[in-house]
Symmetry: C2
Subunit: 148 residues, 2 copies
């Protein structure tokens, strides 16, 4: 994919990111998350920031608090199959202000549940204990139309 | 999800498995794979076997040859969002017979590319160096309609 194709792919529709984390002894975990990206199309693709929130008692949070290495996969599950894999290091805001947290959860909810449900789901997900996770990519692999 | 819902979810459509592996020092990786399951609806859900193939030079193969722990996520990326997460240990056939390998790649290709393309894609993916990976689950988490 070109840079534009990669950024469009990551920001369109309701594809979830499958977030892979690991314990320091190599126990892998993967779970789906809702995410948004902060992006400037005029900057290099690696300048994009991926943002999601997760509860501090989730396994991915526990892994990330000890081991900030992360790998994400976002894919289109229909022929001809396309995917993006991103490696990065997380920056964790473990005690976000209510305003910051609600701003992200509402933006994320709008993407995945629609504008009409953004406020409801934004509030539902902005609970105490929720962490804001930001990733700046170190490496991006983006392949389109794998089966062609 | 009930057992039947979980097995139906894993075997229907073209959802890919996002396969998470890790190095022994905790570097995580995740990538999409085409897979099939061997299943007997009369047996416990943990008796199911998940099968995919991967090239021996892929990062997931390199990780799995050193560290057989694996975690998979299969999810429906549209509202109301459902997912299955499976932890397991892999059994690797690193020098499969051509007949065995072709039998799996053809079955997998039929699922993801349709009956009419199964032979073509089955052959395309049954190349020398391809490993057969089988997983028997240790733990399964299956949640339907997450956003309801």
């Amino acid at each position: 994919m070109t840079k534009k194709e990669t950024l469009d792919f990551l920001s369109s529709g309701t594809m979830t990111a499958k977030v892979s984390t690991a314990s320091l002894t190599g126990k892998p975990h993967v779970a789906p998350v809702w995410f948004v990206i902060d992006v400037d199309y005029n900057k290099p693709v690696n300048d994009l920031v991926i943002i999601f929130t997760t509860f501090n008692k989730s396994l991915k949070a526990k892994h990330l608090l000890l081991n900030p290495q992360i790998c994400l996969c976002i894919d289109d599950q229909k022929p001809p199959y396309s995917f993006v894999i991103i490696n990065g290091i997380v920056e964790i805001d473990s005690s976000p202000t209510k305003v910051d947290l609600l701003s992200y959860t509402t933006r994320i909810a709008e993407r995945y549940m629609g504008k009409e449900n953004a406020e409801l789901y934004g509030k539902r997900n902005a609970v105490s204990g929720e962490l804001i996770i930001k990733i700046r990519p170190i490496k991006i692999i983006a392949q389109k139309n794998v089966s062609d």
